[in-house]
């Protein structure tokens, strides 16, 4: 479709520098915390210090008399104003056919608090300091209850129960796959490999903490919320319709520059509703800026699974069936996508890049006294990949097979696409063998034994690990998603406004918070319409400006939004051809559009894009009888399938035998992202994603204290964020196959680094320690954990 266009220096495939950089580099970004509104007030939340407690009286008198305090609001005030609970965007169904348990989630706690950080009151004052002082003296009577933070404990019969309507703390007992087929395959298998593992809980920690500013204009009965969101239209929909009951046309939600998201900002949070409600109630603008340590106990967390997995194999190492059982932590309430992540975004990924014919996965979603758990970069897919890629290494070890050979034996070959897996999804394209072979070559896998020997001479353990993976992204075909429990569509929208001068404004329903959309989408417009990127501006993040959109998450912006943009451009081109045909007295079918020029095919009769744009607005020579003037088109696109990026990641590590410190010495990623719009930006997405996955593998751990229910890793003092010195220079390249169903052949690349890397790094660590008989190490592979594992292994048969 695009192959016949002349090379465009700012079109698809060009590593042009980012259009958005200048404002960020000069300190002119416009983040929510930077915002000042006339008469603006400041809000502070009072949060529960207890993991689980009955909520008694809240004495606000001392707080109210602090000078400058305007209001001290509680759950009772919300209830009196008939403010609704925070809704969940997905309703999954259990294996018994019953809907998940979906307890009420009041924006300020009512009756009980269910995690450390659960908001119980909101103080608004003339200054932030006055609000903080007042928050310090709000007296809350708590009757502390026993709490439970770990899923294994939460499903025990004697566990404290969070919600009466969810006995056993069970939100949903869910399954996917053919249990009978799997059981039959296991019964006849030559070998069964088993693995128990934990997928550690993470805090996403985008560098910009969350923030919200709300304002009410009584003259127009208009409410505006500025919020750090990845999906302003969805916030408008959820908050307006379900929580505050503000008609959509009276509510504007703006997500201006947002400093990273990674999923953390793709939920409708209680704070957004409370700030907006308070602003309407007070008739004053209200600003809330989350402090980092407050974010640790109020941003939705990620991961937190406990899993048992078994692979049935024949004697040649062929996978016959996979059985997975997972306990997934939901936290104290259901967050927007919470129940969808460990189920629909997890089980379908368990096929991986392999031909395993039968798979069954059961997932128990469990309430605990912890911060709600939801999507974090990768969301379900890193968890599935970690299970599968660790288990494949265990299979190889137990059968005495080479780790590459067992993968090759089971891998889907490039000629097998489209490939229907036993867990719902149908892969449209890919070449995992090609990705793996290229990665093996770059990483010099064959030369590893010599490097291991050299390291041994230096007294360090060295290991190499691979993760060959696939993900499903480009969320999502609405019909499938709604069948699986989505309470909304997952299409995307784009509008292209061609100005009379031929300059273009494109309005996108997706949201850029680091991904470089202002550049990438401009490149697509440049490619399609033949205008230079300098002549294209991309607008997003404002429900008053942009028609509609589901936002940015699930590696969907380029895939779904980009396809909508491509389709809108096609409509512009079609209309332009009609205008040009009229002007050049040709049949529409004879007018072609190439490189920014409308031409009567086979002739030298042309009209430039600028000429057609002008005549659309100055319709002197224009087919008004059949066409409206103006040149602006919009497209909504609902994808027909998920997209399936994938690849092969290889990590090499060295381990200090004395301290257990793991040093990552090499990292190679070869990924299939489909069509690349901007290679520079794709590499940047991979870099960032990989390091987030390395962080999970090596150091990040949102640890809770089992007794008190306190989040122990509650600040950057204890929660280890990857730093620059943790990484070697990564080698990242692509090995692309075209997506068959997106307009441009794109697959998306936002999450793949985070999906491929934890297993690659952990497999390398286990490989380094394999000489000690170690077969698995849980994440994060902290020095203490490695030291303990080495100690245990070195004790001669201590456990026997």
């Amino acid at each position: 479709m695009l192959d016949n266009l002349p090379a465009n220096p700012t079109g698809i495939g060009a590593s042009i520098l980012r259009k958005e950089d200048r404002r960020f580099l000069t300190g002119r970004g416009n983040y929510v915390a930077d915002l000042k509104r006339p008469g603006m007030t400041f809000g502070v939340f009072v949060r529960s210090p207890h993991a689980h407690a009955s909520l008694g009286a809240i004495d606000t008198e001392a707080a109210r008399v602090v000078p400058g305090v305007l209001a001290v609001l509680t759950g009772a005030d919300l209830a009196a104003d008939e403010v609704g609970g925070i809704p969940c965007g997905w309703g999954i169904t259990g294996r018994d056919g019953q809907p998940m348990k979906e307890p009420a989630h009041p924006a300020l706690a009512l009756g009980k608090v269910r995690y450390v950080g659960d908001a119980v009151a909101f103080v608004v004052a003339e200054t932030a300091e006055a609000a903080r002082q007042a928050a310090d003296v709000v007296e809350v009577a708590y009757d502390v209850l026993p709490s439970v933070v770990n899923v294994l404990d939460a499903v025990r019969p004697d566990a404290p129960v969070l919600f009466d309507e969810a006995p056993g703390n069970l939100c949903c007992d869910w399954e996917m796959g053919d249990r009978a087929a799997v059981d039959a395959a296991f019964a006849g298998a030559a070998h069964v490999a088993r693995l128990s593992l934990v997928n550690n809980r993470l805090v996403g920690n985008p560098m910009e903490p969350r923030a919200a500013v709300a304002e009410y204009d009584p003259a127009g009965d208009r409410t505006t919320l500025w919020t750090t969101s990845q999906f302003p239209h969805v916030v408008r929909l959820l908050m307006g319709n379900f929580v505050l009951k503000i008609p959509q046309h009276k509510l504007r939600v703006v997500a201006p520059d947002v400093g990273g998201g990674f999923g953390v900002k793709q939920f409708h949070y209680a704070e957004e509703a409370v700030v907006t409600w308070a602003a309407r109630r007070l008739g004053r603008a209200v600003k809330w800026v989350c402090e980092r340590s407050e974010g640790f106990i109020s941003d939705a967390h990620g991961r937190d699974h406990v899993t048992e997995a078994e692979m049935a194999l024949d004697e040649t190492g062929k996978f016959l069936a996979l059985r997975v059982s997972t306990l997934a932590n939901m936290g104290g309430y259901l967050s927007t996508f919470g129940p969808n992540i460990p189920t629909n975004l997890y089980a379908p990924l368990l096929a991986g890049v392999y031909t395993t014919p039968a798979i069954h996965c059961e997932v128990k979603c469990v309430f605990t006294n912890t911060v709600p758990v939801d999507a974090y970069r990768g969301a379900g897919r890193p968890e599935a990949t970690f299970v599968l890629e660790r288990l494949v290494d265990v299979c190889a070890a137990e059968l005495g097979m080479d780790r590459i050979a067992i993968r090759r034996r089971n891998m889907i070959t490039a000629d097998a696409y489209p490939y229907q897996t036993p867990v719902m999804v149908q892969y449209d394209s890919g070449d995992p063998v090609g990705c793996m072979d290229r990665a093996l070559e770059i990483a010099d896998w064959a030369g590893f034994p010599a490097r291991r020997e050299a390291a041994a001479r230096r007294g360090v353990y060295r290991g190499i690990g691979i993760s060959t993976y696939i993900e499903a992204c480009g969320l999502a075909p609405s019909r499938i998603a709604i069948r699986l429990g989505a309470r909304g569509g997952l299409y995307e929208s784009a509008a292209i406004r061609v100005h009379p001068t031929g300059h273009v404004t494109a309005l996108m329903g997706t949201h850029s918070h680091g991904q470089g959309h202002e550049t990438t989408f401009a490149q697509i417009v440049s490619e399609k319409l033949g205008v230079p990127v300098e002549n294209v501006d991309i607008v997003f993040g404002d429900t008053d400006r942009v028609q509609f959109g589901m936002g940015t998450y699930g590696s969907r912006s380029l895939v779904v939004g980009g396809t909508a943009l491509s389709k809108a451009a096609d409509k512009i081109i079609l209309k332009g051809r009609k205008i040009a045909a009229h002007q050049m007295e040709a049949a529409i079918d004879d007018v072609v559009f190439e490189g920014g020029t409308f031409r009567v095919a086979g002739t030298d009769r042309t009209r430039s894009f600028e000429e057609i744009s002008l005549s659309a607005y100055v319709p002197a020579d224009f087919p008004l009888e059949i066409l409206e003037p103006g040149l602006e088109e919009q497209a909504f696109y609902d994808p027909v399938n998920f997209t399936y990026p994938g690849g092969a990641h290889i990590a090499e590590v060295e381990i200090d035998r004395e301290t257990g410190s793991v040093r990552l010495v090499s990292y190679v990623a070869v990924d299939d992202v489909g069509t690349v719009i901007n290679p520079m930006i794709v590499a940047g997405q991979l870099h960032g994603g990989i390091v987030q996955g390395v962080g999970q593998a090596l150091c990040e751990n949102a640890a809770y204290d089992e007794g008190s229910g306190q989040l122990v890793a509650g600040s950057f003092m204890d929660y280890c964020m990857p730093r620059a010195d943790m990484m070697p220079r990564m080698h990242v390249e692509t090995h692309n196959t075209r997506c068959s169903h997106t307009d441009l052949g794109t697959k998306g690349c936002g999450e793949m680094g985070t999906i491929g890397s934890p297993a690659a790094v952990t497999n390398a660590i286990v490989n380094a320690l394999s000489g000690l008989g170690i077969t698995h190490v849980d994440m994060p592979a902290s020095p203490n954990r490695i030291w303990r594992v080495m100690q245990t292994a070195q004790l001669p048969q201590a456990a026997e």
Partner: protein, 264 residues
């Protein structure tokens, strides 16, 4: 932060007078005090900024003693040719505190007055047998550190500098918290006129010496002299990054690495 009064005295006597007031506290670089105030874990009526007091500045070496003014930043200690020429292990230690921006603000006096159990300097002060000089007296290192965030300083007493005897050899090795970058275990080893001293920070509620290691190193100042030596885990700190037994193990490892650094 809760409101307070900020004062920047012109000289030591004014500083001393200000600090005599109820609720007054000394401010050095602020790298320990301000985070505590920001998190509302403490409140003070007055902060007395000592960071620019002239008597607290300066680095000099005379007669086998290195003097470092209490107001000297870690960055200045790390970059000082005088320190490098006398006790290079001290320069290396200072260059490894926190991060570059912390080193640009944090001061020697501030660290010692705070006596954080995971701070680096206390290990050097104790192992080198230094004297903490105040506006009132000189306090030997062995008497200075009294426990978790506790020192021998009297109310209002101001650290003006530290006198470090220049050792024949010294080395510092630290196992850092991957998150905070504070020492999980830091061991400073110094071989001076009075023999070898080994001081450990990060592992317990306060910096401490390890006599058993000192005796072993007195006998032979080699890495191998410490083979198999460590400290018992009882009473050591434990957290999500290092359980007490791991810290005990690390004391041995870091001590050996400190000796190796001293011999390098």
């Amino acid at each position: 932060m809760q409101p307070f009064t900020f004062r920047r005295p012109a000289d030591l006597s004014e500083a001393s007078a200000l600090l005599a007031a109820e609720g007054a506290v000394a401010l050095g670089g602020g790298m320990s005090l301000l985070p505590v105030l920001k998190q509302r874990l403490a409140a003070h009526a007055m902060l007395v900024d000592l960071s620019r007091l002239p008597p607290l500045q300066g680095i000099s070496a005379t007669d086998g003693v290195l003097y470092v003014g209490a107001g000297t930043t870690h960055a200045d200690v790390a970059a000082s040719p005088v320190v490098a020429g006398t006790i290079p292990a001290l320069a290396a230690l200072a260059g490894g505190i926190g991060d570059p921006q912390v080193r640009n603000r944090g001061t020697l006096g501030g660290v010692l007055a705070n006596a954080d159990p995971a701070a680096d300097y206390p290990a050097a002060v104790l192992a080198l047998g230094a004297e903490v000089v105040t506006d009132r007296r000189a306090i030997p290192a062995d008497a200075f550190f009294r426990g978790l965030f506790l020192t021998a300083l009297e109310p209002g007493e101001i650290i003006t500098g530290v006198r470090f005897p220049v050792p024949a050899a010294a080395g510092y090795a630290k196992f850092r918290s991957p998150a905070s970058r504070y020492a999980i275990v830091g061991v400073f080893v110094a071989r001076g006129a009075g023999g070898v001293r080994v001081a450990v920070t990060g592992a317990a509620s306060s910096v401490f010496r390890v006599p058993q290691m000192e005796r072993a190193l007195d006998a032979a100042f080699t890495r191998d002299a410490l083979a198999g030596l460590t400290v018992p885990p009882e009473g050591l700190n434990g957290d999500i990054h290092a359980e007490p037994s791991f810290r005990a193990h690390l004391v041995g490892v870091m001590a050996r690495r400190a000796v190796a650094a001293a011999l390098a």
